[in-house]
Amino acid sequence: MRLEADRLSAGYRERPAVRAVSLAAEPGCVLVLAGPNGAGKTTLLKALARLLRPRHGRVLLAGRSAWELPHRQVARWVAFVPQQETPAWELTVEEVVALGRLPHRQAWWRRGEAADTEAVEQALQATGLAALRHRPVGELSGGEQRRVALARALAQRPRVLLLDEPTAHLDMGHAVSLLALLRRLARQHGLAVVASLHDLNQAAWVADRVALLHGGELVALGPPDQVLTEPNLLRVFGVPCRVLRHPPDGLPLVVPLWAGGCPGKDSGPDGAGGESRAVPVG
């Protein structure tokens, strides 16, 4: 299912955090939102998730305005994984993941059906949480909690999956397996995936297309090697970068250049002094 932002402006109070952004998430593709802090990535994701009403422009879901569709219908099609999600009470992993079936439930007095159980089971397996299913979510590590939130969204069986910083708090191994999972969901199950990522190399690896945001505006949109260029990154992040080619597959590999070379290498005998010098020129 295609999710589209059409000249979308959204934000809180007077100043819109997203201004006139047009982009589309296509089924089977991964779209990555990149940009510095405050660029409007989270606001854009929330507007796409129908959590934040746009000030101008529209959000289109399969060609129809998301705000004219019934709320529950949107919830059956679009899942959103926020940056942080810790339950207020001692809910177990399985209880939280089962909440993903809420939009599909016919009536409040009906028990879960076989399809619900199967969706929850597959989501637990896909995120590697099956062994933790009876643990209270509040007792898990930050990375495990992120995976619980993802599993909850997968149990929703959405057509569009929106994720805000899904790899934050994840170690390298879990980050790679999560990104691989996102690609698999897009390629094999035809989901339209939109994720905001800070790590540009992760973005280059997982994305079919990258949307580079700066100050609420769309700076560049396209395949990673056309968007993650040295001039674009200098302009948006204020850091001079060298964009190399990743040896095995030729994907862009972004290496920031620090003033005076690599930090810690030229800081004299006191190695700790390198910390204060690791300030990028801007």
């Binding site: 929330k46 926020p82 207020a88």
Partner: protein, 349 residues
């Protein structure tokens, strides 16, 4: 925890509540033995089968005590406890805050103002089985919650936090109004105060008949909301992205819990602490999803309030300690003990 285990615990709580009710039939200034209580409850109690000339035997007195005094009164305490426990659990769920109690959105201050006005105006004609004072307390409770809700929505102060703040402000205002009214008159003070402190002394079948349908309506509404309240535990955005309409959930939860609370206040006055404590005890016994927490909180509240009412009759006969005082005196230390044993409050966000 498996569903079967949770169900077993719920059954144990129900059995405990029934045991408290049974004890409530027996305990009091006049003790009734179990056999006498059973005989009194039988469809044709022997004590009443005597002819018109029969003297007032002790069995007949037992029948009167059990059937007309203790049974309706214990059932009333039980249903009020059930209502307060469920309302507390629902509002804690709505506010995602373990400190919320049934009175946070203005139910108690409104009830106090309604009862005060009724006493001062000298209204006496009963309404639907309730005394005029109780009926005005019930109406005041619902009215003040409605005002709080309308103000919070109109101010756009942002969801449940706005509701909490407006509730605090309106409660303070109404309490000041009650205090001011009581300053200008001396006679009704004790009457109003006695009503507020609560207790189930002298309450019988008509009060039960008037309040139970209201409580049943509140319970049914909450039963329909349990999954939405679970989703809200993940945060407002997560709940919304799962298709939960926050304005509708807010309105329905406030409506259901204020029906329960107002009915409980009509049944026994403003009884504190049960609605705060019962959900915490429930979450230690059953899974934290509202499907289990709501009924378990209700049963804990019922058992506690029936026991408190019975104990209040026994400790200093013939005087009675109102159930509200008893729950606070026994409940607060027990609650502190629970917190200390667990090391942290359940579900602190």
């Amino acid at each position: 925890m498996q569903a079967r285990q949770a169900l077993a615990r719920l059954g144990a709580l129900a059995a405990l509540t029934l045991a408290a009710l049974a004890a409530g039939l027996m305990a009091g200034p006049v003790w009734v033995s179990p056999a006498q209580a059973v005989r009194a409850l039988a469809p044709r109690p022997e004590g009443l089968s005597g002819g018109p000339g029969a003297g007032v035997g002790s069995q007949q007195a037992h029948v009167l005590i059990v059937r007309e005094l203790r049974l309706p009164r214990s059932l009333l305490a039980g249903s009020a406890g059930l209502a307060l426990g469920m309302a507390g659990a629902a509002l804690q769920g709505l506010f995602r805050n373990p400190l919320a109690d049934p009175y946070v959105v203005g139910a108690s201050a409104g009830a106090a103002l309604g009862a005060t006005v009724a006493v001062m105006a000298g209204w006496a004609s009963p309404v639907a089985g309730l005394s005029a004072v109780t009926a005005c307390g019930f109406a005041g409770s619902l009215a003040s919650v409605a005002v709080v809700y309308a103000l919070a929505e109109a101010s756009g102060a942002g969801g449940v936090q706005g509701l909490l703040l407006v509730g605090a402000a309106v409660s303070t205002l109404l309490s000041a109004a009650v205090a001011a009214l009581l300053l200008f008159v001396d006679r009704p003070y004790l009457q109003v105060y006695g009503w507020l402190v609560g207790g189930f002394s002298g309450r019988s079948w008509p009060v039960l008949a008037a309040t139970v349908p209201v409580m049943a309506a509140g319970c049914l509404m909450l039963a329909a909301l349990h999954r939405s309240l679970d989703a809200l535990a993940l945060g407002e955005e997560a709940a919304q992205s799962l298709g939960v309409s926050l304005p509708r959930l807010r309105a329905a939860t406030v409506a259901a819990s204020s029906l329960l609370t107002a009915a409980a206040v009509a049944a026994g006055g403003i009884i504190g602490f049960v609605g705060l404590m019962a959900p915490h005890m429930a979450r230690r016994l059953v899974p934290a999803t509202h499907r289990w927490v709501l009924p378990a909180s209700g049963l804990v509240g019922a058992a506690v309030l029936v026991a408190a009412d019975s104990a209040g009759r026994v400790v200093a006969p013939p005087a009675e300690v109102p159930a509200g005082i008893f729950t606070a005196v026994l409940g607060a230390p027990f609650f502190l003990y629970l917190l200390r044993r667990q090391g942290r409050p359940s579900g602190a966000p």
